[in-house]
Symmetry: C2
Subunit: 154 residues, 2 copies
DNA sequence: TTTGAAATAAATGCTAG
DNA sequence: CTAGCATTTATTTCAAA
């Protein structure tokens, strides 16, 4: 799945990762091409799937969900159907931010945001351990989340 | 830190989380207000920090980083200075997507994307375990990442 | 692929309710 | 806080290189 990307593409990607709402005019000026060119490149990057989406990110604390946790989920059966079905359900849990399917001691890692500790408990009891295929969960409180520098290092 | 948000605000947030590049005209039509009103609301949501940023999301596989992993980092000392200094360094590791500071058995969870297994090994050796305060790491391969439904459930 | 310039579309500023 | 309208700004289209 690797796509051929030149320096202009990488500059566009870096700019849009930083500010996804940058105007095309500003983008063109920043990467040094005509506006029609940057518009063309951005469209190509979206159509080819290199840019998967452009989304707003929210302050979940301001939205009343200040408590973040990681829930490590271990299964009792690794039957393919069971695993995939559970994945679909975990992704659909209210408050689930991201769900990773991983190898190793755990099967899934859920990053969740909730309003209160009680809500976290209920989330786990009502939406995670309620599934018979879940054998064990382990929950870690998240103190802080920070974005890393990503893969666009130059 | 909770902010008073009405239904219009929540509808705007949901729309921009889905498509952060939606035009203001489309947003106004979707939430049922005048364009000048939705523009005003969006600006207020950004200025109040409810919308923290709008960013492009990339297909890291297409960018040549198809391998994702979670690196669980445990420290030998929990001196405040050590912890904060290390956090700064982990966030700055090339390929680091997100770094969580957590409570429990681990101290940090790093979500990283790399090109090859060898690169993952080098990342850990050169950027993580190289710090004397790091006592142990444990690495889990990530099979798949999916977004959850988030906190805007209605 | 890239570009400039024209045509279309959208955002902003201003006024008032 | 909301809306309508005029002005300014941005995006899209397209023929040409």
């Amino acid at each position: 799945m690797p796509v051929a990307l030149d320096g202009t593409d990488l500059a566009i990607l870096a700019a849009l990762v930083e500010d996804g709402r940058m105007t095309n005019a500003a983008l063109a000026a920043r990467v040094g091409v005509a506006e029609s060119t940057s518009a063309y490149r951005v469209r190509a990057l979206r159509e080819s799937g290199v840019i998967t989406s452009i989304n707003a990110r929210l302050d979940l604390g301001a939205l009343g969900h200040p408590i973040h946790a990681i829930i490590r989920v271990r299964l009792g059966s690794h039957n393919r159907e069971h695993v995939y079905n559970l994945y679909d359900k975990l992704v659909d849990v209210p408050g689930a931010l991201t769900v990773l399917h991983v190898g190793g001691n755990d099967d899934f890692l859920m990053h969740v945001a909730v309003a209160t500790p009680g809500e976290l408990r209920d989330l786990i009891l009502e939406h995670v351990t309620v599934h018979p295929v879940v054998r064990q969960t382990e929950t870690q409180l998240v103190f802080e989340v920070r974005d890393g520098r990503g893969v666009l290092h130059r």
